[in-house]
Structure formats: structure tokens, C-alpha cells
Point group: C2
Chain length 657, copies 2
């Protein structure tokens, strides 16, 4: 069995499955159109091993401990490898790894290892691991799993977690119901190692946790959703359906492509009579599975961004270095397809053109627009269209330093633009402009706003902007938010060096959870008439240093794996572009967010303060960011602080040349 997207399995009550009927269960599952069935590996008889033998020196105990008679035939439900590709196994529930009795602990561990061995021998590809009662610690369970998962290299292991807590602890707010389950999973995962293959099988129930609690699970490897049949309602045609809220939750999880398990509380009639008239169940397909497939089919069609993002989700990309490197044609092409960004630029230029004073009597009406970093020319096109709309004459300069892109704009001028556009091959910072511009248009922003050195480039270009000239964009604000993402942190960890923890990554987020909403951290405004003498180059780059110390409060507990970064930019007056989730320009896909990892994940208690300290620093050759995260609890002070990341730009920086 390979658990591919929308695999749906069937799980009857474990105590009803025996070695006699397990092949009937397989036939039932196949007939009903399930992709797999779930069966216990062992019969209840196997529990004997907890107390095997009469005493520590008994031959039976000794033999069993030594693995000489791991299983007697009556211990096993799954005795052969028949249909092992169609069966997911469950481990015995009576194992008690954190018992106070050392013998029960040891025998539980040995039993788990023997079952892992057997499961591996049979070639099952999935295992469901039981969830111990919440009164029990998970310390030794975690240790046992950490040491045993390597025994089943070809099987996926799912820890079955209920979405609601068995008991809500005293003093815990109702909306935090379900957090204890997450805490227990988190604790177990931390023990077993975050890089481990352990996934979650999240069991939904009648009652569901609040959105903020569910949100924590979106940053976790939820590989399976377990749906008990009893949580389904019956519609007026007699078919099983789910409540609106359940539908909503499942639709959110569907984006993460889990498998599903339909959990039955009674054993159905496994031997199906193909001629019977079973009105409700359509005989040969499970109405529960049919319903989940229906939800899957009727998901919202993926938006432009999702289509564009396919294959990029949770994938770590190095940010562009447009000053050091020349972008490739395909990169330009991708970004030029953005339906929103250029629409906003065109609108901004049009508004700016309309705001420029008309020429005095006798003067020609020509507005000078300089597109700096013209690339393959999309902003030149925007400028020309805006001029047409606004009914103003323009003289456009297209300045580009990338020789490959310049070939394209040479062709554009020859074939399309003609005399309205002057093309200039130069770095905007060193160009000697023949006249001064009314409007300076650029698209130099990165996911973190200034991280592709827009401030430094525009500081160099503003010397040929008229004293009352306009820069589009007028400003940009950087936003940060503390975030959880086990996946991204684990991916950074695989490099096994400090440098990768001190580097930022452009990522299309999927399996992440923000611990608090993003807040602004700093702003750049253009042109900068305060720090830079009119018509001159900046005196140094010190004025582009920024820092911020921003405080957040996390409503629920969570793990902090790093910081998410976004930007908002005012192009002109009320014309904006944004990738900040709360104000995201709908349909704009040119920027994914940015991810700054921390070296060691921090546990954040509910209601704790999270402080993000960020610096944008510079020397004569480069710009870099440094960051640290701390967590403050009232009355306790700073309970965590990370080291300072990327001291002096030692691990990552953006070259000025």
C-alpha cells in the first residue's frame, strides 16, 4: 500500500478482529472501495507477556525476554504476509511504558520491539501507535519510540491523538480544550526527535477544538484524519454527512493531503452478499468514504497563487541576490505573469501622472518617467499604458544593468516602444542621467521589503529625481510574526551546520502556524531627502540601518521554530501592494513570505510574551540581518532567549555589488 493523496481506510473495533476473520476484513475493504484496512497485529492473548513467567528466574520469562519464543500462534492476528500491502497495523493498547512497575515497563518495551520486528517481517507499510491515557507521562514511551523507529524503516508510524482532551484541567479556558493533546504530541515528538518519521493520526470527535487550537496542528505532520462513524449525521436521504464545522475543518486539512480512516464502533457484516438489497450502503461502496471523496472533489478550485505554488509549498528557497547575480529570463517571465502587481503599478503611475502639474503656457507637456531596474520591460509597458489613460505625454527611460535582460528591451524598443522610450545599459547607482525625472519607478522589493537592497539602489537613483519628483514605491514596511513549523525547521536542520540556521529562506508556507499576527518592524521612505543631499550620492549607508524589538502575545502554547517575514508597500497614495496576510493583495503571487529560522525551537507557554529583535545592518560591501527571539513570562522574566543569529553577517548577507 502506498498512502497517496485521498487514501481512505477502514478500521473496525480492534477486539473484533481475529486471525479467522482478518482476510474477510480485507475482502470487505476491497469490495467497499477502501484503500486499506486497519487491523491489530496481536490478539488480546499477547498481553500475557506483561507478566510472563512466575518470577525473574522462570524459564518462560527468560526465553521470552531473549526473544526465543516472541509469539505463540495464538498471540497473533496477522500471522502471514497475505495482503500486507493492504493492511495498516495497530499495536497492542495494553502496553504501559511509563508504569511504575519496572517489569511492566521493560516487558512493554520488549513487546513493542517484537511487534515492530514482526510488522517489518510481514512488510506492513503503516502502523498506528496507541495514545496512553492523559494521566500518564510519555517519557519512557518517547524514549522507547526514539530507540525503536529505526527498526521499521519502510513503515510510516502514526501516533493516534484525540483532537479533544479527555479532561479539561482546572483553570484552563474552554477555548483551549484540545491543547493538552497537542502538548502531549509535542512532548513525545521532542523525545523521539523532530526529524523522526513519526506522524500524527488526528482523531476527530463530535466536539471540535477552537480554530486557534486546531491551527497548531497545521504546523504538525498530520498524516491521517481518523473519523469515527458516530460523528457523522444523517441527511434527509439517509446518507451520512458531517456538520458544517466538521466540513470546514476537513476542508482545511485537505490542503495538507492527509489520508483518512473511517473508524467503526461495531463490526459490520464482513461477508457481503452481492445480491442483497442494502439500501443505505449501496452495497459496494462505503457512504462514509463516498462523502469524504465528495468533500475532496468539491474543494474550491485552487486560486492562481495555489496553482503557481504547486511544488513550492514548504520548500526552502534562497532569496534572490539581484545586485550580485543577473536574474534568468525564466525568473523574469514568471514574475511578469503576476496579474495584480502590474495592475497596481499601472494605477499608481497613472495617479502620479495625473497629479503632476500641467506645463505652463508654451511649454511642452512631457513627464519624464525613469524605470530603474527595468528588467524585460513590464514597468515600461505599465508607464506607457498609464500615460495613455491619463492623457499625458511621457518620455520614459528604461535603465537596466543585466546584459541579458537588456537584449529584450532593445527588441522591445525596436519593435514596440519607439521614440517614447530611451533604453540605458547601466547600474542605476552609477548612471549619469541626461535630465531629471518626474517619476522614478522601480520594482526592487523582496519578501522582507528591503532584502533585495531597494533602499540602497533607490538612494543611488534619487539624485536624478527632481526635487518634487515622485518615487513609486513611496515606502515599504516590513512585518514579522513568530511562527511554528516543524517541517521547515527540520529541513534547515538537515544541513547540520550553523550557517543554515543563520540564513533566511523564501517559502510558500503550508504546514505552518503563526503564534501571533504579524506586526510592522521598520519602514523605508523614498525619496530620502533628509539623509541624502539633493542631487548627490548618499554619504554613507548608515541611514539604512534599522532595528526593531517587537513584542507579541501567544494566546495558546506552541513551539516557535522561527520568524515569518512579509512586507506592505505604498506604491503611490492609496495604491498598495502587500503580502502581509491581513492585507494581502488578492491574487498577487510574485512574493512568498520569508522564513528566518532559530537554531533551537523554543516552547512558548500560553499567554507568554514573545520578543523578536531584528537588525538590518550594513558595512561598505554588504547588508545583512541579525535576529534573536526571547520569551518572557510575567513574574518569571525571560525564560528563553536564543543566541544572536548571524553575528556580523557571518552566515548570510546581501552583496552591495
Amino acid at each position: 500500500m502506498s498512502i497517496d493523496p485521498l487514501q481512505i481506510g477502514f478500521m473496525p473495533p480492534a477486539d473484533k478482529i481475529t486471525t479467522q476473520n482478518v482476510m474477510e476484513l480485507v475482502a470487505y475493504g476491497q469490495t467497499k472501495g477502501f484503500d486499506f484496512v486497519v487491523s491489530p497485529l496481536n490478539s488480546p492473548a499477547y498481553r500475557r507477556v506483561l507478566f510472563e513467567g512466575d518470577g525473574p528466574q522462570s524459564p518462560a520469562m527468560t526465553a521470552w525476554r531473549a526473544g526465543m519464543e516472541a509469539f505463540r500462534p495464538e498471540d497473533l492476528v496477522l500471522r502471514t504476509a497475505d495482503h500486507s500491502d493492504y493492511i495498516v497495523g495497530t499495536l497492542s493498547e495494553w502496553q504501559d511504558f511509563d508504569s511504575k512497575d519496572a517489569r511492566v515497563r521493560l516487558h512493554s518495551e520488549l513487546a513493542l520491539r517484537q511487534q515492530f520486528n514482526w510488522l517489518s517481517h510481514l512488510g506492513l507499510s503503516g502502523i498506528l501507535l496507541p495514545y496512553p491515557p492523559s494521566t500518564q507521562p510519555l517519557t519512557n514511551y518517547g524514549r522507547v519510540l526514539a530507540g525503536s523507529l529505526a527498526m521499521v524503516p519502510y513503515a510510516t508510524c502514526w501516533f493516534q491523538v484525540p483532537c479533544m482532551d479527555e479532561v479539561l484541567e482546572q483553570g484552563v479556558a474552554e477555548e483551549l480544550q484540545g491543547m493538552k493533546s497537542w502538548e502531549r504530541w509535542n512532548s513525545l515528538r521532542n523525545m523521539a526527535g523532530s526529524e523522526s518519521k513519526l506522524g500524527v493520526a488526528l482523531e476527530l470527535s463530535d466536539a471540535l477544538p477552537s480554530d486557534q487550537v486546531l491551527d497548531r496542528w497545521f504546523a504538525e505532520p498530520v498524516k491521517v484524519i481518523v473519523l469515527p462513524e458516530v460523528i457523522f449525521l444523517t441527511n434527509n436521504k439517509g446518507y451520512p454527512v458531517l456538520s458544517k464545522r466538521h466540513q470546514h475543518v476537513i476542508r482545511k486539512f485537505l490542503k495538507h493531503k492527509p489520508s483518512f480512516i473511517i473508524q467503526s464502533s461495531t463490526l459490520p457484516k464482513l461477508v457481503l452478499d452481492e445480491f442483497s438489497d442494502d439500501t443505505l450502503q449501496h452495497s459496494f461502496s462505503s457512504p462514509y468514504a463516498d462523502y469524504i471523496r465528495y468533500l475532496h472533489r468539491t474543494q474550491e478550485a485552487p486560486g492562481v497563487i495555489d496553482q503557481f505554488a504547486t511544488g513550492y509549498q514548504d520548500y526552502l528557497q534562497a532569496p534572490l541576490q539581484p545586485l550580485q547575480d543577473n536574474l534568468e529570463s525564466s525568473t523574469y517571465e514568471t514574475f511578469e505573469k503576476d496579474p495584480i502587481k502590474y495592475q497596481q503599478y499601472e494605477l499608481a503611475i497613472e495617479r502620479a501622472l495625473r497629479d503632476r502639474p500641467l506645463p505652463t503656457e508654451g511649454e511642452p507637456d512631457v513627464t519624464v518617467i525613469m524605470v530603474v531596474g527595468a528588467g524585460r520591460g513590464p514597468l515600461v509597458n505599465c508607464s506607457l499604458r498609464a500615460a495613455d489613460t491619463a492623457g499625458r505625454n511621457v518620455r520614459v527611460y528604461a535603465v537596466e544593468k543585466n546584459p541579458n535582460a537588456f537584449v529584450t528591451i532593445q527588441n522591445m524598443k525596436a519593435s514596440l516602444w519607439g521614440d517614447r522610450v530611451n533604453i540605458v545599459f547601466s547600474d542605476m547607482r552609477s548612471w549619469k542621467a541626461p535630465e531629471q525625472a518626474d517619476i522614478l519607478v522601480s520594482e526592487l522589493l523582496g519578501s522582507f521589503g528591503d532584502n533585495e537592497l531597494s533602499p540602497e539602489c533607490l538612494d543611488g537613483a534619487q539624485k536624478f529625481l527632481k526635487p518634487d519628483g515622485i518615487s513609486i514605491p513611496a515606502n515599504y514596511t516590513t512585518f514579522v510574526a513568530p511562527m511554528a513549523s516543524n517541517k521547515l525547521h527540520t529541513d534547515v536542520s538537515t544541513f547540520k551546520d550553523l550557517a543554515h540556521f543563520e540564513t533566511s529562506y523564501v517559502v510558500m508556507f503550508k504546514a505552518i502556524s503563526l503564534l501571533a499576527q504579524p506586526k510592522p518592524i521598520w519602514v523605508f521612505e523614498h525619496p530620502n531627502r533628509v539623509e541624502i543631499p539633493l542631487g548627490q550620492d548618499p554619504l554613507s549607508n548608515h541611514h539604512n540601518i534599522r532595528s526593531g524589538s517587537i513584542e507579541f502575545t501567544s494566546a495558546t502554547s506552541g513551539m516557535l521554530h522561527g520568524v515569518a517575514g512579509y512586507f506592505e508597500s505604498v506604491l503611490y497614495k492609496d495604491v498598495m501592494i502587500s503580502i502581509n496576510p491581513e492585507t494581502h493583495s488578492p491574487g498577487m503571487f510574485s512574493w512568498f513570505p520569508i522564513y528566518f529560522p532559530v537554531k533551537t525551537p523554543l516552547y512558548i507557554p500560553a499567554q507568554a510574551k514573545i520578543v523578536l529583535d531584528f537588525w538590518r545592518l550594513t558595512d561598505t560591501r554588504k547588508v545583512w540581518y541579525e535576529w534573536r527571539v526571547s520569551c518572557i513570562v510575567d513574574g518569571l522574566g525571560e525564560i528563553h532567549s536564543t543566541p544572536l543569529h548571524n553575528v556580523g553577517g557571518r552566515s548570510s548577507s546581501i552583496g552591495l555589488f
Copy 2:
């Protein structure tokens, strides 16, 4: 200047030192017998740079920012490198790295870098860094230091910290006075990187913190003790002396070999008249410095342990692997010199001999003693002496597997022992003994008790012990305690791999601080008649698995860098040996404690619970430990947990063969 043990310096008020009198200060210090003097690098005039220039575009500001006119002559106290080997510099106090004013922050940073540059140029070998008022954050200061310390590779940097808090925060217990200072240092050090060269210059005052607060400083790099003259009392002969408590504290610090700075609140008459009759000051030596030298001279003579430990303090040693490796002769020789251990063994054997029943009428009085792991024979000697004292006949077997040690016991038998001793070349676990022993004597303990596999060895040897026979030792208990030691953690970090964090080290502790007193975690008893059939080998090694989850409470806050391990052992009845600090056998030096690091240091808030989980695990080839540490705060739950260390013995283990 090289700051060697008991270097004492002189520090006058910074504002009284000018470029005109600094050479007089040097002459004064030299005449008075100081090893160095402390002088500001800059005059107060240099403060101008905080607000240099009239505005951001002013040429003066621009030039200064660019480092073109870093210092004007009047900015500097130290203008030349004269006597730079005798001068420790201090940085300007007015720098405000965490000002709300971005310009003050930037200019403070640039000023620090310019001073570091100048200091490096002059070749000063020490710098005192100012302590900002406790109302200010240290975030940006820490970041600036992290990025600047590399500029002064040849100078030691000391952050001057008052031992008492300026203000005791509301609700903080009186006995925690001074913790805020430590917290601030800890925060700064975490920012600057724990591996950095930043040390502490701890400034004592009239009032001193409680012992538990001072204890935190013993785990920190306190390189200098600053003693203001005003805290000295005057004895009845008019000489400056310190209170008993100050003496006590200084004597404790003296073990860490700090330098001292005598801080004067007034400028003394720098030009000394060698013919004046200055009754109090002996003219040519500082009575303050004399007094510190007196305390240094009159320290308790180092005990045997300290003598033995010289050169081993805080040095990470791999534990012995006596089963896998053969010990060297020098190792035996070192341990044989222990004055206490063999005295205790001899006493235990004597008591055991006296307790053995006398032979029945007609039987010969012979007690069979088997020394297993005899090494070069010290326990054989103990046995023979004990037999003489007890007046019992003995037949001693000396069993040893190390062929090199065996040569020595062959000689011992030939020259000394004769027929009373049978020597046997064998691993005790595989020896076929010709008769059964009354007393089995062994010395197989490691620092963590069972970590040199005493349990496994004695389990194998007990088959030739009579049913009522005695094992010396009778049992051993392992103790653990949470500990702080920046030094040890940093030393482990330098290996830059996971394996070294998952290994234990034998260490003569010096710069450490226990966060709570040690507690027992598990016990081994010998002989083991419950798990092992009489006269047989053990059936498996599962009975030597141990685990423990031990809870501690830390009275004050602190950093947890790992776990300290110790053992206590009952040799026979009330004859014990112990390296547990609370019961340590006086003068016994054979064992240093053991250190288990954690991958990432944890901050422990005052009154938080620390849980240490330890496992001793085994398979057929090896024995290993796994461990994790967590921290629990009432009402918040588990705020920290380390990953499980050494899963499956992947990084360190002790071979059974």
C-alpha cells in the same frame, strides 16, 4: 601585561585621569607594587560624537561616521603606546547602545568600534566594559559586543558587574538580592555568544549577596574582582582589612585565580616623595594590595585532592573503559596512591572476616577471599593486612585479565605474597574457580557508580561466591544533580558535533554551580540472588537496566548546562566510600565527578522544577545511558525539554567485551 594569578591593579576615578597625569599614574602604580593600572581610553570630551554635527547631512558627522576623524587629540587620554603593557583601558560610560534614539545607538556603536580599534592599535591587553543602569535593556549592547569582540583579538574583555542590584524589584526576596546582576550578565553573555572571550569583573560592595546568589558566579568566568577601597575596614593598627564575610567570599574566589582591582574613589597623590614619612601607607606598597596578598598567602594549604587535581580542574576526560581497554601502569599507580579508599577496603574486609563463622571443630580456619579485577594487587594487600588484623587465615585468589598488570602480580606473589595468594589470569566472568569464595572483593566502580560495568562483572563473578558469601562492595547508589558550568558546556561545544553532547565526561569540577543538591537515582546490590540462579551466569542483562525520573527545585534562577553525577557505595555494613559532595569520603581522590552535558543550555527560573530523566540501558554488546532534562513551572507546565540524548547509545556506550 599578562594577567597571571594574583595580579593586582589600581583604578583611580576615571574622570581624574588625563593625558597629562596618566604617566604619573603608571609610575605611581609601579612604585606601589601594583601589577597594572586602569585608565580611561578617552576623555569626557569624546562624548561630543553622540551628537556630532548639526544634522544628518553635516560634513562633520559624515566625516566622523566614515572614521575619517575618529579622534581629535583632546578626545584621548591614552595617546601613545607608552607602557601599554601596564595599562588596562576602560571604555567611555556615556555610550548608550539601547537608547530610544537611533542616532545615539548608532553613534555609541561607532564610538565603541573606534575605541576598540584604538585600543588594539595601542596594544592594551585588557578592557573594562561599563555596566549600563539596570533600567536599560542590554539587547543592542550585546549585539554590538557580539559583532565587535573579534576586533580586539589580543585583549581580554571584562564586563564590570556590581555584585548587588541597584534596586531590589518588588516581590523579590531579600536573599535573591544580586540575582538581577547575574541575569543581566547572563543575558549579555547569551547575546555575545557563550564561546566569546567576554569575562566578568565582579565588583564587591559593603553589602554582599547571599551564598546561593554568589554561588552562581562560581560557574561564570569571573576573571577580576573589583574591590572599592571604601569597603575596607580599618584595624586597630590603622591598616585596611576586610570583614569576615568579605574574607570568606574572597577566599572562595581565590580558588578561581582571579585578578584584583583596587578601586579608589579619590585620586591619590600620584607623585610620590620617596623621603616622606607616610606612616599608614608604607610609602612603597599599597596596604590594600598587601592585604589581598596576605589573604592569598594564608589560604588553606591545598589538600591532597587539590594537589592531585592540579591541571585536571574543569578538564574533560573520557571515562575509563576497563573492559574494552587495558589500563596503563601509570593509571594503576595513580589510583593506588589514594590514602582513603584502600583504608576503607581494608576495614571492610577486616569486618567481614570477623563476621565469618569460625570453623567447626576439626575443620581448618581458612576464609577464601577472591579479589576480582586485582590490577597490580592493592586489594590483595588490603586482604592480607585485614586477615592479620582480624587474626583469620585466608586463601586469597587474585584474578586479573590485563596481561600487563598480571606481570606485576606475578612478581608480587614471587617476592611478597607466597602461598597465601593464588594468581589467576582470566576475565572474572569466564573463570572456572576451583572452589567457592567466602568474600568477593572488587574495585570496579566508576564516577557514576555502575558506569565501568561493575554490575555486569560482579554478576558474572558471583557464581563462585558461596550462598552466604559476602560481596565487597555490597551496593552502590548513583546520584545526580542539575548543574551550571558555562566553561564545560563551551568546551564540549568546541567539538561542533552532536556526539560530544551525548557523551559523559569525568571532570574535576571547579567553575561549576549546582542548581540543587544531588539526589539518588538508582542502586545496585551484590550479590544479586533474586535475578541470577545460584551458581549460574545471568540469563540476560535485562535486570541491570535502570531508570529514574528525579525532580529538583532551584532556589534561584540559573542556566542549566548539564548534569553532575556521583556515587556512594557501602563496602560492608557501615564502611562506606562516597564522592557525593554531602557525604564525600574526606581525602579520597580516586574519582572525580561525571558530567553529562545537554545540547542546548536551559534557563531555569527561580523556584522552577527541574526533572532529570536517566536510563541505563543494555543490549548484548554494550551498556549506555540516555538522558533528558525538562523544566516545569507551576501553572505553565513544561517550559523546556531537551531532546533525548544518546538514543540507542548512538554517541557513547561502554563495551561489554
